[in-house]
Amino acid sequence: MEEIYSGLLRALELIAAVDPQVVEITLRSIFISLSSAFLAGIICIPLGGIIEFRQFWGKRALINLIQTFYSLPTVTVGLLVFLLISRSGPLGGLNLLFSPSGMIFGQAILVSPIMIGLTITALAGVSPQIRDTAKSLGATEMQIIITVIKEARVAVMAAVLLGFGRALSEVGVAMMIGGNIRGYTRVLTTSIALETSMGNLELSMALGIILISISLAINLLLNRFQGR
């Protein structure tokens, strides 16, 4: 107990001292996860719109599948992406393995189901009269989708923020695709795992506190968006 307490104090000292290594890892974490949320958002928001608006065979089943993938174990996504981008994989030529770009790609895939799913839920919440009004005023199908996304902007933003939160706190993809290379692909979660295993508990705790604080900030932002 004593050890935890003193460790916690040292961790806070580290944060208060603005340790350059801690700052660097934090910024990299935020950058990579934000990029992956952004990348996933660009693809998943319109995709969610198309799934919600088009009628096609197996639509219900597809949505169920997407929702099942919300809680996909991160290591299985890591494995899948690893197979895709490793030297002999179909995307091997892009040299993404053990690079920040590879992590962004992998985390974007990881958070895609949740973003598509939550986008669909968000758009389904917009009253059908809005669609009718847009259509009646001469909007094309794509313009109607954009209009409805705009109407649901708060809920859609929430989907992106949740994706960011999941990317930031996951360790499977970051470790397997990034490789935890110091100064290059090391992020909050992977360094916590490493430092803990090496017995550097103060540094681990400092990074953990930062991670929790960012998650808390995301949640506050979410609540603010949703007007709660």
């Binding site: 009004t133 847009a134 009646s136 005023l137 209009t147």
Partner: protein, 233 residues
């Protein structure tokens, strides 16, 4: 050639026959009253004409061209020559100005094109027409019911449609605002815009409409000059 020709149009939803065998023509620039008791199918008919829903059988000719069964591109083209004001209009989460200019923007209009009227001038004009000048920057979702109704009318008028579909446009208004909308519609008469005005109110029909179509339980009971029509109920 008539602007709109509706031929033996029927609409069923499940086992319920909502509309049956509707035949109707609308000439350019005329105001046609569509009168019928509640549940008679007025809204359903206007939605079919606006190409929002598909009929079960029958067809619609707009400008002499068949519209149903055509690719979405042609439907869109015909739809863009019409505008509909819904019975209970909804506003986009945006300012009044953004709402009113919506249709223009969807048609690819951008502001400040040389020569033509600027988009903000057009919005100003449309708002003045419905008696709500100066409402541009108001949040459209904080308007009263009557204001919403009139902004919805401005949002349609700004498009200068060939056919304006109005679903009980004065039902939510106090007598004063209703009268000013009626005046506006009277001024529209004689312009190139044709209007189908759905209403319960025979007086409004007599005042505004040249011809009246009487709808009851999904069938057209009579079509004729407004002063010659007597209601069957």
């Amino acid at each position: 050639m008539a602007l709109l020709e509706v031929r033996s149009l029927s609409k069923s939803i499940g086992p319920a026959k909502i509309l049956e065998g509707i035949d109707l023509t609308v000439e350019r620039g005329e105001i046609l009253g569509l009168i019928g008791p509640t549940g008679s199918g007025k809204t359903t008919l206007l939605r079919l004409i606006n190409l929002l829903d598909e009929p079960s059988t029958g067809c619609i000719l707009f400008d002499g061209r068949m519209v149903f069964g055509k690719p979405e591109k042609e439907l869109l083209c015909a739809r863009r020559k019409m505008a509909m004001v819904f019975q209970k209009p909804v506003m986009f989460k945006a300012s009044v100005e953004t709402n009113v200019s919506y249709g223009l923007r969807m048609r690819g209009r951008v502001d400040a094109t040389g020569g033509e009227m600027s988009m903000s001038d057009m919005v100003e004009e449309a708002l003045a027409a419905v008696g709500l000048s100066g409402y541009e920057s108001r949040d459209a979702n904080t308007l009263s019911g009557g204001e919403t109704q009139r902004i919805a009318l401005a949002r349609a008028l700004i498009l200068q449609p060939e056919l304006l579909l109005l679903d009980e446009p004065t039902a939510n208004l106090d007598p004063g605002s209703a009268a000013s909308i009626d005046n506006l519609l009277q001024r529209l008469a004689g312009s190139r815009t044709a209007v189908i005005l759905a209403t319960h109110n025979m007086q409004q029909c007599r005042k505004l409409a040249g011809r009246v179509a009487v709808l009851q339980a999904g069938r057209l009971m009579a079509v004729g000059k407004s002063e010659e029509i007597t209601l069957p109920w």
